[in-house]
């Protein structure tokens, strides 16, 4: 188990050791979240590395990663714990008539029959220290669940009616992510440290690509990053994120491409753009024009 880093530089070193190149702002807010024990709320477009940083942090600190994937209609039963009704009913049937009520109650409502869900699992003591609790895509749930989460996150305890209150011995490291399809309530945001994850600059994206797809030659990596950066300035319905850049680089490597050309781009456009309108806009002469600009800008470098 690694200790909590004690400076922002230490956080940067820790993350880049795992291949995650973070901006200074993100490293600062991660450090503050670890030091002050506050949850971290990451908002941004899809594909900018929000989920990735939780995984990286868990690996780097040697903690268990517990992931709660949010969806509409998620309620406390699916998030905290649920009783194993089938097993309980079998127990009732097998113990038919032979036991008294209190003994039955104590036998039925024990940890044996409890199915732990992520929030409860995060409150249990883990070997290696407090786990990293990733609550992914919180904007997909609705306001009642947010209110429930607010209560759970402020005291790090959950209540199960039959078992009582279960408190976390050490508060877990909580990271919430959101794609902003809905405005998350201010009360929850204020409980956390907020950070908007933006698309990276050219230099940082190049570093990320070198860390994640090191087999690519430097010239190809530079062309890929420059092209995607230019695409982000175009008027697209969905701009490609960093995850798309890495996917595209891996596709090109699989096709043994050495340098970009308009044909290669139109063949592999599905790796960066996911909407048909955007693909149609880019195919053909548009891709050629962008590629020419990229080559012209990279030439003296």
């Amino acid at each position: 188990m690694t200790a909590i880093p004690n400076s922002i530089d230490a956080v940067e070193t820790l993350l880049s050791g795992q291949g995650y190149v973070a901006s200074r702002a993100l490293a600062t807010v991660v450090f503050l979240s670890l030091k002050l024990g506050r949850p971290l709320f990451l908002e941004g477009e899809a594909g900018t590395g929000k989920t990735e940083i939780a995984k990286t942090l868990a690996t780097a600190l040697g903690r268990r990663l517990i992931r709660l994937q949010c969806y509409e209609g998620l309620d406390a039963a699916s998030a905290v714990a649920e009783w194993n009704f089938a097993a309980q009913m079998i127990a009732i049937r097998t113990a038919e008539g032979a036991t008294d009520r209190d003994q039955l109650k104590t036998e039925l409502f024990t940890d044996d029959y409890l199915i732990e869900r992520p929030l409860l699992a995060a409150m249990r003591p883990q070997p290696g220290g407090a786990p990293v609790l990733l609550i992914d895509e919180i904007d997909r749930t609705d306001e009642p669940f947010e209110a429930f989460l607010l209560e759970a996150l402020s005291d790090f305890q959950v209540t199960i009616p039959e078992l009582g209150t279960i408190r976390a011995p050490e508060p877990p490291i909580v990271i919430l992510t959101s794609n902003r399809t809905r405005e998350v309530h201010d009360a929850l945001k204020r409980r956390c440290l907020y950070h908007w994850v933006d698309y990276p600059t050219f230099d940082r994206e190049l570093q990320i690509l070198n860390a994640r797809a090191p087999e690519a030659r430097n010239t190809l990596s530079r062309e890929i990053v420059a092209f995607v950066q230019k695409l982000r300035r175009e008027d697209l319905f969905k701009r490609p994120g960093v995850a798309e850049t890495i996917d595209w680089a891996k596709c090109l490597l699989a096709l043994d491409v050495i340098a970009l050309s308009p044909e290669v781009i139109s063949d592999t456009l599905g790796a960066i753009l996911k909407y048909q309108d955007d693909i149609q806009k880019l195919q053909g002469s548009e891709a050629r024009r962008l590629l020419d600009e990229v080559k012209r800008e990279l030439a003296p470098a």
Partner: protein
Amino acid sequence: MKPLASTMATHAPLDIPEDGKLAHNIVHFARALRKAGLPIGPGRTLDAVNAVAAAGFDRREDFYFTLQAIFVSRPEERSVFAQVFRLFWRDPRYLDHMMSLMLPQVHGVQEDRRAEAAEKRAAEALVDGQLPPVPQEDTPGDRIEIDATATMSAEERLKTLDFEQMSGEEVAAARRMLARLSLPVQPLTTRRTAPSALTARIDARRTLRAALRQGGEITRLIHKAPVTRWPNLVVLCDISGSMADYSRMVLHFVHAVANRKGQGWARVHAFTFGTRLTNITRHLRDRDVDAALRAAGAEAQDWSGGTRIGQSLHVFNRDWSRRVLGQGAVVLLITDGLDRDDSALLARETERLHLSCRRLIWLNPLLRWTSFAPRAQGIRAILPHVDSFRAGHSIASLEALGRAISEPSDHGERDRLLAMLRA
């Protein structure tokens, strides 16, 4: 609070006064941000001081990012934060001076606020009643008579009268009627469940807990049913010159719908467009309709200008659709369809809008002409992509909208006009 002067002295000097009052300056900075519009309470100011103490000053930008992590909670606030930071930490006295020019009380406890429109009216009414005896002569013609005995036929006539042809007092009477209209909505079923007596889905958890009372014997089954919730409404209102009279009346209607208490839409978002798209949702929350529309009018700068529907829908689709249409919203598009832009763009953007929302309803005042035929390019571009096409030129037509909006199979005049288009 441990003194922070020692930490400061060992690192590169920042543009802040080195007199050991960093915590005091952070508090002052938080108040400056609050005046700039960011919602920051004293709890966060305390967090900021703790965070700065924890983070230290390895690099100049760490201070900036530390404060940003605490004080900013929306992406829009970042630019405001950056400007106030630059102004404040260059020289706090400079910002003080600027703030004192704008507001008379900077250090005072009581915040100054502008008098609300309703308060002004109320204040005037109060003062008028208590003024010392100044002869107030009622000049002839100034007398306002409120005739509460409007006959049924007069009201019905007002309902069918076209907005464009109303006179001043008819407009005022119509506004009062619009304030009483509503837009009933069908609830949506969600994936959550709640106990219910009637349905077939069994709630195993509650059944078993109830069985405990009988020693494990299941004597009764408890059922659950899906919970319903209300959908969102998004209104896109054209405020260009050709729609001038209609848009003002329709916005009164939208304000009434947005402020209706009790069962109704979950959230009502409203946008106006002419040459650019403006979000006026915040202004509609004001209960007083005059204040709300005045604030909206001040924000949207393109009243009675030209029309660029395609471009505005494009901006909406790109910037707002994912944020407001996410959970099954109904979109009300209020425009006459007369557009200056390229109709291919308009068709594409309307199709994209249609694909992103649950139902797209088009209200067009031009349908007041019974012999209306879709000839204009803009109208031909929009028509195939809407779910329902209705008239929006009078109170009666808005009432008809109210009746029809809860019918999912209602298409208004769309099919008839589509047939004309293809013929």
